[in-house]
Structure formats: structure tokens, C-alpha cells
């Protein structure tokens, strides 16, 4: 069988072919074999295959061994790794050679190194997997569909899944997506138009995935025979894209709502690009805007221009990003305040190429700030110089700030006040009221509440004040402090008290004068009418005895009249000019003087005097009045002594609230004060059946005491005794 021609063909074959005998010794091989799979350049005929061949996998060796024993073996591609780590792909075909009736005498081996091709395919697959790009093919002649591994993975179907056209289309989401792919595919088939679209599919597992499907058409004789294309998972990118789109929309809306204008300035081309808000803020018509830097800078207020241009310069040079407030002038001449921010964008070499920024109108904010500053200033000035006291206190009533006027009213310096609480110097009786007031203020139902209370001045005096309170709330609605207005009304209260006292005195004097006038009129009238009546009788009476009787009565009436006039004179004298004649008099001396003068009366009544008066006790009084008072009280005590017991009269003195208190206590008849209390000191009031009772003594006594700014009081029980208490100023 060995012929030259056959040998030649074998040698020149473009494939690597070797023929071996049963001992695996080379019978012949092609040049290709020698070039690609032999270890050296020598002739290997009759030499063993495995002595001269490159490294091959065990699998191949085994296939050859089987081949010489008559087993044909085909391997379309076997991957293995060489001991040095390099990857190798071999493909072979082993055909046993048979000698008729003699069995097998060897084998023909076809061997091919397909490493390069395999690597490329593998890379392609890898790329397909990594990029999530699959391929598909629609054979229109056979009406079959082929999907690559990745395409199947994207659809989340098993690798053994065999799709058809309809199933493939149905993976697209119902509605616009499915409609679109149907249209594109049928258009490609009918018109030969390729497509490139992004649509949503619903995978076999039910997930929504964005894919990019591309299709190309192969035309044969003017008719589409095949569609091939790619199928890419773009879910992540698409979602990011959609999210970005949404954010951009939102940003646009936000800046419109917030009235923030944005701009881009291309430095290399001096081209300024504004959004619509910018035109509105700068009051410039879009078609009038030149788009140059000067178009912007020309609107800036001349006073601010230099500063703004410097800041722009600095921003371009990367010294400092633009962050300025400046004024611009609108077409109609109004000045607006603008806040501007920008970022400078550099190219790869660090050269500024672009600026982007934002502007907004802060005129309202500015004017509010100015108003606030003015109001703060005016409040501070009012606070400091106000003639009424003002303070800020914390919700727990500690002073935070106090003005001069308040400090003056309370006698503390501001620093001293800040160390104490308002309660520390509040009159204890006004603390409950203060607490209630604070509660009302903090509840805040009514604004500008007022409350009158008393404080203690540093020197201990009482300070009367009307407090006005206004709570100030922080941004969370909690009370941060309270503004206190403090109207010092001490002087007003004092003068009011004086006025009230004066009114009381005037009223009582007026009353006493009215009474006095009526008493005078009554008494004078009763005597005079008696005299008129008696005179009439006298004129008519003829009987001598009766005439004498009438004469006697006329005389008596005349005496009574003159006595009454004398009493009135006494009273009138007390009312006039007492206070000028006051002097310091010893109480004990006056008592001793009086008791001596009524010694006879005391002895007559067998009365006992118990005198307990300190020698140092002096009163401020008119001497004659004091004597008259003591005399009157003592004689009354004796006149109305009880017949059942020996009269005992106690006279004591003590000091009470800076006044001298002198008491006369007797054990006499006493007087029913419930019945007579209101008229005990009245004129011509008598309460006992005593022949000398005239009802003038205590009336005069009371008037004398009161004219010396003193007071007289009485305590009494019928048949037990009477206590007369006199209070006079100390001498």
C-alpha cells in the first residue's frame, strides 16, 4: 500500500497526520505533524510516537492505545493544562488500520492544536457573560430560534430551553414593550430594517428586567432569511438612567419652586448659559441676553461690582469658590439683593474651563433682616432707657437682664439682681398670687397680663409695682424667657394711702362737725323753746305762786342755756389749734397731780388706786387736756362705782407699736356696750341714773384725745367694771 504518490500526499497534507504500527512506532507522518507536534528536527520513522511527541493528555494516550487495537476514536476538542501551566486544546481522530484477514496493524492519527481558536471562543463567551450580552438567531427558512447561554440566562430559563419566535416575543412585558418588539421584528422581516431598542421583559422567574435588543437582517435574493442580533441586560444602567432622569426633573422643579437660578459659564468661549429662573431673577428678556460675561456683570450695582469681579477672578484662578451677596439693578431701577454661589471646573491639566453656579434673590430676607436689626436695636434702646422698669426673666423666674430703672426701683445693681430670683425679693403674702400669675403667663391664653405685687427694696422697704409680662417662645414653641415690665407705683400707693387717711380724717371731722351742728341746734333750741313757752305762760298767769314757779323755771332754763354754751365753747376750743401746743409730759406726774386734787372724793368713796406707771413714760400732749382726760376718767370711775364693793382703780402704762398705752381699769357698774357702744362718746349721752350725768365728759375727752392724734377705747361688762384704754404719741 505504500506508494510514492500516497506518501507525497501524506507529507504535503495541510493536516497533521501520523501513521503508526501496533507498537506505536511511526510508519509515516505529514510535514505538518513534524512541524507542530515533534520535539526535534530528526526523522522519527520507526521511532516510538511517545518518544517524539509534545506533551499530550493521558486521555489521548489511552485513545491511541485503544486505536491500534481497532477502536476508532474522535475527540472534537480536548482542553488540558501542560505541566508548565499553559493551556492547550487538542482535537483528534484515531482510525485503526486494518489488514485484510490479519487484524489490525496500526492506526492513522489526525491531530490538531485548536488552542488559539478555543481561547477566542472562550473569551467571547466570557465577554458575553460579563457584559451580559447574549446572542440570538432567527432562521426564517426553518423557522427556528437559537439563543446563546447568556441570552438564556437573561431570560432566566434553563440551558436546555428551546425557544420559538412566539415564545421569545411573549417574554416582553405586555403593552408597549411587547407591541414594540412585535412591530420591530415584523418590520425587520418585511422591510429588512435593523433595530436597536430598550424594552422590559418579564423573565421566567417573573422579574422585570430592562434589556437592549438589537437585530440585523440577512437578505438573500431580496428576501430576509435570517435575523441575528444581540440581547443585553441593561437593567442596572437603565434603572440608574431613569433614576437620574427623575432626580434631574425633581431638581428642576425644586429650583423653580425655590426660585433658584442656575447657570453655566464656558470660560474658553466666554459663553454664559442661563436657565429660565436666572432670566426672571435678573429681569432680562431671554432674546435680549447676549450670553456673554458682560451681560451679567452689567446688571451689578456699581458699588458692588469691584468686589464681585474680584471674587469671580479668584474663583476662576482656584483661590476661592464664588460665594457673594451683591445688588443688581432691574430695568425699572429697583435694587434687588442676590446671593450667588459657584464651582469652577478644571480640565485634566488643571486649567479652569467652566464655571457652574446658582443665584437666588434674597431681597425679602435682607429687608427682614434689616427690619429685625432695627427692631432689636429699638427694643434694646427702649429697654435700657425706659422710665419704667424692664427685665427679662427665665421661666423659673431668675433675672436674666434688668434695666437701670428697675435696678433703681429695687435698690440692687443689675449684677446683684442676676444672682437672685424674683421670688427671693417678693413679699411673702404675694407669692401665691405671683405663682398664679406666672401660670397664667406661661399658659399664654391671654397676652399682656398685669399683676400688682410687692417687692422688698434692698433697704427693706416695700416697693409696690404693677407687673406686665409677655412670654417669648423659641422656635419649638417653648418659653425661652419672659419680658417683664415693672411699673413702680410705690409713690402712688403711698400718696394714695395718705390721701385715704386724709379723706378719713376729713370725713370723720365733717361728720363730727355735722353732729356738732345738730347737737348745738338741738340743745340751744330746747332751752330757747322752753324759755319762749315759759314767757308766754308768765304773761297769762295771774296766780302769784304759779308765777314764781315759772320764774324759777325760766332761771333754770337760762342757766342750762349758758351751761350749754360753755360746753360748746370747750368743744370748739379743742377743735382749734391743738397740735401747736403739744409738749412732752410725764404720765406719772400728771396722774399724781390729779389724784391729789380728787383726794377728798377718793376718801369719800374709800377707793383704792393701784398705779403701775414707769417713770420714763412720757407722752406728747397738751398739759391741760391730759389733766382733763385723766380727771374725767377717774371721776367717772368713782361716779359709777358699784355700791356692792370697794372701788379699785388700776392705772397702768406700756408701749405698743411706738405708742404710749395708758389703761384705767375699775370694778364699777360697767356699761352695756352692745346697747350703748355706738354713742358712748357722744355729746349729751347719759346711760346711768345719776343726778350729775350730763353726757358731756366722755365727749370732750374723746375730742381732746383725737385732737392730739390719739385714740380712746372702752371695754366693759355690766356689774363687773370698765376698762378705758388711751393711746397717745410718746413724748
Amino acid at each position: 500500500m505504500k506508494t510514492l504518490a500516497v506518501d507525497f500526499l501524506l507529507k504535503e497534507s495541510p493536516n497533521a497526520i501520523a501513521i503508526v504500527d501496533t507498537k506505536l512506532n511511526f510508519i509515516n507522518y505529514s510535514n505538518e505533524w513534524h512541524d507542530r507536534f515533534s520535539l526535534g528536527n530528526t526523522d522519527y520513522v520507526n521511532k516510538n510516537l511517545f518518544e517524539s511527541i509534545i506533551e499530550t493528555p493521558d486521555f489521548f494516550k489511552k485513545a491511541i492505545s485503544n486505536g491500534i487495537n481497532g477502536e476508532e476514536h474522535i475527540n472534537t476538542g480536548q482542553k488540558f493544562i501542560l505541566p508548565d501551566g499553559t493551556l492547550q486544546w487538542l482535537k483528534w481522530k484515531i482510525i485503526p488500520s486494518k489488514v485484510e484477514n490479519q487484524g489490525f496493524d496500526g492506526a492513522i492519527i489526525f491531530l490538531d492544536d485548536i488552542t488559539e481558536e478555543q481561547k477566542e471562543i472562550e473569551l467571547l463567551h466570557k465577554a458575553e457573560e460579563v457584559a451580559r450580552i447574549g446572542c440570538w438567531e432567527l432562521d426564517l427558512l426553518n423557522n427556528t430560534v437559537y439563543w446563546t447561554k447568556t441570552t438564556k440566562e437573561i431570560h432566566e430559563v434553563d440551558q436546555d430551553f428551546v425557544p420559538n419566535l412566539e415564545e421569545g416575543i411573549n417574554f416582553y412585558k405586555e403593552g408597549v414593550h411587547r407591541d414594540k418588539i412585535s412591530y420591530l421584528v415584523s418590520n425587520a422581516i418585511a422591510e429588512g430594517k435593523s433595530f436597536d431598542t430598550e424594552l422590559i421583559i418579564i423573565t421566567a422567574k417573573g422579574r422585570e428586567v430592562w434589556v437592549c435588543a438589537k437585530g440585523e437582517v440577512e437578505i438573500l435574493n431580496g428576501k430576509a432569511v435570517r435575523l441575528i442580533g444581540t440581547f443585553q441586560d441593561i437593567d442596572e444602567r437603565k434603572k440608574i438612567e431613569l433614576a437620574h432622569q427623575e432626580i434631574s426633573e425633581r431638581l428642576k422643579m425644586t429650583s423653580q419652586t425655590a426660585q433658584i437660578g442656575t447657570w453655566n459659564y464656558n470660560l474658553t468661549e466666554n459663553n454664559l448659559d442661563w436657565d429660565d429662573e436666572m432670566y426672571r431673577i435678573f429681569d432680562i428678556e431671554k432674546f435680549n441676553f447676549s450670553g456673554a460675561f458682560e451681560a451679567w456683570s452689567s446688571t451689578i450695582h456699581t458699588d458692588d461690582l469691584k468686589r464681585v469681579l474680584t471674587a469671580t477672578e479668584n474663583a476662576i484662578n482656584g483661590i476661592k469658590d464664588f460665594d457673594e451677596e451683591y445688588r443688581i439693578i432691574h430695568k425699572n431701577g429697583t435694587i434687588r439683593h442676590i446671593k450667588g454661589l459657584s464651582k469652577t471646573i478644571n480640565d485634566i491639566n488643571g486649567t479652569a474651563v467652566k464655571m457652574t453656579g446658582a443665584n437666588w434673590d434674597i431681597t425679602e430676607l435682607r429687608s427682614t433682616e434689616i427690619k429685625l436689626a432695627e427692631s432689636t436695636k429699638s427694643f434694646t434702646e427702649t429697654f435700657e432707657h425706659s422710665s419704667i422698669g424692664m427685665a427679662l426673666v427665665s421661666p423659673d423666674l431668675n433675672w436674666l437682664k434688668a434695666n437701670k430703672s428697675l435696678c433703681k426701683s429695687l435698690g440692687y445693681s443689675e449684677n446683684e439682681l442676676l444672682k437672685i430670683s424674683s421670688n427671693d425679693i417678693t413679699h411673702p403674702d404675694d407669692l401665691p398670687g405671683s405663682r398664679y400669675f406666672k401660670k397664667k403667663v406661661i399658659e399664654g391664653d391671654t397676652i399682656n397680663l398685669q399683676f400688682q405685687k410687692r417687692y422688698f427694696h434692698k433697704n427693706g422697704n416695700i416697693v409696690h409695682a404693677i407687673i406686665g409680662a409677655t412670654p417669648v417662645k423659641d422656635i419649638n414653641g417653648n418659653i425661652s424667657h419672659i419680658i417683664i415690665q415693672f411699673l413702680d407705683i410705690t409713690e402712688r400707693i403711698e400718696s394714695q394711702k395718705k390721701l385715704e387717711a386724709l379723706v378719713d380724717v376729713t370725713k370723720s371731722q365733717n361728720e363730727s362737725l355735722t353732729n356738732f351742728a345738730h347737737i348745738v341746734s338741738h340743745n340751744l333750741r330746747s332751752h330757747s323753746t322752753n324759755m319762749v313757752m315759759l314767757t308766754k305762760f308768765l304773761n297769762k298767769e295771774k296766780d302769784d305762786e304759779e308765777r314764781q314757779n315759772i320764774h324759777r323755771m325760766i332761771t333754770s332754763a337760762t342757766e342750762s342755756l349758758s351751761e350749754t354754751i360753755a360746753h360748746l365753747n370747750d368743744v370748739v376750743q379743742i377743735k382749734t389749734g391743738t397740735l401747736e401746743n403739744l409738749q412732752s409730759i410725764s404720765v406719772i406726774n400728771t396722774i399724781n397731780h390729779i389724784t391729789k386734787s380728787i383726794n377728798g372724793l377718793l376718801e369719800d368713796k374709800e377707793a383704792q388706786l393701784k398705779i403701775d406707771i414707769c417713770k420714763t413714760h412720757f407722752v406728747n400732749a397738751v398739759p391741760a387736756y391730759l389733766e382733763s382726760i385723766f380727771l374725767n376718767i377717774l371721776t367717772n370711775a368713782l361716779k359709777y362705782s358699784s355700791e356692792k364693793r370697794t372701788p379699785i382703780i388700776k392705772i397702768t402704762s406700756h408701749i405698743e407699736e411706738q405708742l404710749m398705752v395708758i389703761s384705767f381699769t375699775d370694778n364699777g357698774q360697767g356699761i352695756d356696750l352692745k346697747r350703748h357702744g355706738d354713742k358712748i362718746f357722744g355729746m349729751y349721752k347719759t346711760f346711768h341714773k345719776h343726778k350729775d350725768a350730763k353726757g358731756i365728759g366722755l365727749f370732750i375727752t374723746k375730742n381732746q384725745i383725737e385732737s392730739m392724734s390719739g385714740s380712746i377705747n372702752i371695754e366693759s361688762k355690766v356689774d363687773k367694771g370698765t376698762k378705758i384704754i388711751i393711746k397717745l404719741k410718746q413724748g
Binding site: H518, S521, H522, N523, R525, S526, T529, N530, V532, M533, L534, F537, M553, S556, A557, R675, Y684, K685, T686, F687, H688, K689, A693, G695
Partner: protein, 135 residues
């Protein structure tokens, strides 16, 4: 003209009592006259008459300013013990006081008929007699 049976004078001024008694006799005003010197005496005396079942006065001439129990106090007490005194007694206040407060105060006492300013005159008695007899 019909006389009044018993007339009572309550006054501490002896001259006034003398004069009034004299005029009563002159105009023949009453058959008999009872005199008390203050409100307390008058109350005690009238109670005594009542208990002894003796005739009570028809008319009382009452002074206001008196010691111990004055005219007002008498009126207050008299009001309280009116029930045992079943007879209707007309009271006339006879006073020197021109104090409007007194004139006003009289209106609070319904048993007081008239306020007569001192001195009492025969004309006054004539009017009282006329009024009393008519009633």
C-alpha cells in the same frame, strides 16, 4: 269735742313736761296725764299698768334725746312688747331736733303718727284730737 282718755308724756326735761301738761289742761285735751322721765321708766311703767290690767294711754308724746333709754330705743323695745298691749296707742314724737336724719328715721316706725317740733302748741293738740276722734 271728745277728749282723749289718757295721755302719756315721756321726756326728761321738767320744763317741757310742765308746759305740755299746762297746755293739755288749757285745751282740755285729756282726762288724765302720765309722765315718765326716760324710755326705761316708761317701758317699766307701761308694763306694770298692763299686768295690773289698768287702762293704758291712748296717746304717747315721746321725746328723742333722753338718758338711759332714748326715744328710738323706747320705740324698738315697745314694738317688741306690743302684743301684750292689745290696745292701739298712737305715738307722737316731740323733739327739738331739726336733724333731717331723725326726720327720715321716723318713717321706719309705723306706730309713730307724726313728728312734732318743740314746743308743742294748742293748735297741735287740736289737730291730734281731731285726727284721733275721726279714727
Amino acid at each position: 269735742m271728745k277728749k282723749i282718755e289718757i295721755c302719756c308724756i315721756i321726756d326728761d326735761d321738767p320744763i317741757f313736761v310742765y308746759g305740755t301738761k299746762r297746755i293739755i289742761k288749757e285745751v282740755n285735751f285729756a282726762n288724765s296725764i302720765i309722765v315718765y322721765n326716760n324710755g326705761k321708766d316708761a317701758l317699766d311703767g307701761l308694763m306694770k299698768l298692763c299686768i295690773a290690767n289698768e287702762p293704758l294711754p291712748d296717746v304717747i308724746f315721746l321725746d328723742l334725746n333722753m338718758p338711759i333709754l332714748n326715744g328710738w330705743e323706747f320705740l324698738d323695745e315697745f314694738k317688741n312688747c306690743k302684743s301684750p298691749l292689745s290696745k292701739k296707742i298712737v305715738i307722737y314724737i316731740i323733739s327739738s331736733s331739726v336733724d333731717p336724719r331723725d326726720l327720715e328715721r321716723v318713717k321706719n316706725y309705723e306706730q309713730v303718727d307724726t313728728y312734732i317740733l318743740k314746743p308743742i302748741t294748742p293748735d297741735d293738740l287740736g289737730k291730734i284730737l281731731g285726727a284721733t276722734v275721726e279714727s
